[in-house]
Amino acid sequence: MEKKPILEIKNYSKTYGEGKKAADNVTLTVESGDIYGFIGHNGAGKSTTIRAVVGVLDFTEGEILIDGHSVKTDSMECKKITAYIPDNPDLYENLTGIQYLNFIADVFRISEREREASIKKYADLFEITDSLGDLISSYSHGMKQKLAIISALIHNPKLMVMDEPFVGLDPKAAFTLKQIMHEMCENGTAIFFSTHVLDVAEKLCNKVAIIKNGKIIDTGTMEELTGKKSLEEVFLEVQDEQK
């Protein structure tokens, strides 16, 4: 399968009030079939970058392209092919799980037959089919996370952006998600996700970027970055070097 860039972040910077830079000249490329890990300390700028990628956060410096479309000027085309799972999904609590999934399916114009099949497939995999008729307000954090993941999967995105996707998932659901991520990659989807769990990143990702104080301090394929060391060792080393 020929690789092509799906997400290109070019010299992206985000400045908050008082001139504080939450992201500083971030540049990276995620290609089709990549599972790209984005790692860094709390407050390093991961979520700020991710929120800009998915069109939630406004930015003035730099450019973000998704499948060649600019997030700034052509955000609708970008959003149509992107799925986003936030770290703490704010879903409509007073809808049932199935009502929420139908809302997402309606927005992405998924046919009735298709949505039925994919909702069934993923809800079975994550073992929440029985709860789809319940109000989301009655769900546990993990169930909400599973629902957010299913809503991201049902429209077959070209780019999947996830902010700490494994937080709150039970071990089986985390395993299922990893499997799905591999399957999606084989089908050419690009996955860009942030995580604190370095073991997961090491086993799952083929590329990694390490961010600190808004700046990318190291990036490359997993082999290039780690060599014979573990990702954890590399992460701690580069963090110390930057002090």
């Binding site: 908050y16 009030g17 504080k20 069109g55 959003k79 009502q99 927005v107 009655s138």
Partner: protein, 532 residues
């Protein structure tokens, strides 16, 4: 509206629909509460309809049936305008599912437009109730042609659009200006306060202008002229009047056309800046400049009260709704000190034959009418929302928690209430003993408001809200707290004024203090019982 707008609007409505919760909820208690709320709101609608029918019959009996369409249009427009000012902040900006919606393939304009349409649809039952009731009164006295009914009802749907758009646009401008500042919440609140006060000043200005233009002594004719002159200033009311009174096609087209055009035109600039405003409002950089200094300890109740203060100042919608009464109380107090109180009374009561002496016992009630219509205690139990676990998991009894919440309401109401009352007493030269009793009554009223609010807040606690505006402005707790409180205060004002003409003022005040204190104590007991 494109297909995605319809999908989003439908979902927004469904996600806050009590019917949807009722259908899908398995908790019988919760279902019971929903039915209770439904019955409560039905009674409220019926009261509103009865009041409007009564009002229109009154107009009919006074021979003022001709101004009823204009009164209907002005009433709906004014209510739509005021309520939108208070809601824009939470509905259009800073809402919690912003990230989720903006990451979906909706344009910012679609999201903003749907949020506005959501506010519009939610306000329709109130507007339609007023309109239908006034149409009934109008029909009784004029027996209009059959076409009047559909024209009246259809145009009712358009009446709130223009004032709501104007209010939302001003809210947008306030948010846009505030977004650039560090203390955005405070600035947003101050600007909204200034705007609301300007609107009230404008209202009096228009009224004065409308009255002075024609020096008519006859009160009824004067009322009629005032409405007609106001209609000439606020054209949508004139168009509505023209449409239902004489089936003026041009007026129908003007009202419907301008409403639609304004909606389309306004949401273009709003859509353009929507993401940037929300980005600024929702983003807070970590300053990383904190230096550990000596920390201050507080009692548990005070710690809770302090938390409540931080919760309030963190939300412009909460601050505006919770703080407006206090601002009014201060303004009334200051105005009473600066201007002659007799002239203020004449202005507010429109030259009704009421002297300042007659109003002496009513001063605390007048200030209470400003301050007591919103109690933070009716709101804060529900506002805990998803964070409820924090207070529930703390090693403090619920009684202490609610004592802290009540303490906060007392902290923010008593100083303003006392200031307003003392200013009125000084300005009206109320005797010292009477003044003292009035201040005591004011404090008792604050205590009652606090405890009664807490009873309503606990009994009708709702934690699963989507938007804090649902709690602050539209919850059962607030409605049950406010409406009986409002009507009782209005009746009490009239009662004490009448009694004051025949009885000793100090005696009336002393009795009132006893009654209010007893009620406050009973409500406090109820709070303690509910928090077991």
């Amino acid at each position: 509206m494109n297909k995605n707008s319809i999908v989003l609007l439908r979902t927004l409505l469904k996600s806050t629909s009590q019917w949807n919760i009722y259908k899908n909820c398995k908790d019988k208690k919760k279902k019971g509460r929903i039915i209770g709320g439904f019955i409560g709101f039905s009674i409220l609608y019926l009261c509103l309809i009865a009041y409007c029918i009564g009002m229109s019959i009154g107009y009919g009996k006074m021979g003022l049936v001709g101004i009823m369409p204009a009164v209907c249009a002005l009433t709906i427009s004014l209510l739509a305008f005021i309520f939108t000012v208070f809601k824009t902040n939470g509905y259009l900006f800073n809402f919690k599912e912003y990230d989720m919606l903006m990451s979906l393939p909706f344009t910012p304009g679609t999201v903003a437009g749907c949020k506005f349409m959501y506010m519009y649809v939610k306000s329709l039952p109130w507007n339609v109730s007023i309109s239908v009731a006034m149409l009934i009164g109008y029909a009784i006295y004029t027996a209009p042609a059959i076409w009047v009914y559909p024209v009246w009802l259809i145009l009712t749907l358009f009446l709130p659009v223009i004032p709501m758009i104007v209010a939302a646009f001003i809210g947008f401008l306030i948010a846009k200006v505030s977004a650039g500042f560090k203390k955005k919440n405070i600035l947003q609140t101050i600007l909204t306060f200034i705007f609301v006060l300007a609107i009230f000043a404008l209202r009096f200005g228009i009224e004065a202008f409308a009255k002075d233009e024609e020096k008519i002594n006859d009160a009824l004719l004067s009322a009629s002229e005032t409405i007609k002159n106001t209609e000439n200033i606020y054209l949508p009311a004139k168009w509505f009047d023209g449409a239902v009174s004489s089936f003026s096609v041009s007026d129908i087209l003007l009202l419907t056309g301008i409403s639609i055009i304004l909606f389309v035109v306004i949401f273009i600039p709003v859509g353009h800046s929507y993401r940037s405003i929300n980005s600024k409002l929702k983003s807070h950089a970590a300053s990383k400049k904190f230096k550990m200094t000596a920390q201050k300890s507080r009692s548990i109740e005070n710690a809770i009260a302090y938390k409540e203060l931080k919760r309030m100042t963190g939300s412009p919608a909460y601050m505006v709704n919770g703080g407006l009464g206090m601002i009014f109380a201060v303004l009334i107090g200051v105005a009473a000190l600066i201007f002659d109180i007799e002239s203020i009374i004449a202005k507010v009561l429109q030259d009704a034959p009421v002297s300042k002496e007659m109003l002496y016992p009513a001063f605390p009630l007048i200030i209470y009418f400003m301050i007591g219509m919103v109690a933070t205690t009716a709101i804060t139990p529900s506002l805990e929302g998803k964070n409820y676990w924090i207070v529930k998991s703390l090693p403090i009894p619920e009684k202490t928690l609610y004592r802290g919440k009540m303490l906060f309401n007392m902290y923010i109401t008593v100083p303003f209430a006392m200031f307003g009352t003392i200013c009125l007493c000084i300005s009206a030269k109320v005797p010292v003993l009477t003044s003292l009793l009035e201040v005591i009554l004011m404090v008792a009223l604050c205590a009652f408001s606090t405890a009664w609010g807490c009873v309503c807040g606990i009994k009708h606690m709702r934690l699963d809200w989507e938007n804090e505006i649902e709690v602050i402005k539209q919850s059962s707790a607030v409605a049950i707290y406010m409406f009986p409180n409002m009507f009782a205060t209005m009746i009490l004002v009239v009662l004490v004024v009448i009694l004051g003409m025949h009885m000793n003022l100090n005696l009336i005040l002393a009795v009132l203090i006893l009654i209010v204190t007893l009620l406050a104590w009973l409500c406090y007991r109820k709070v303690m019982k509910l928090s077991k």
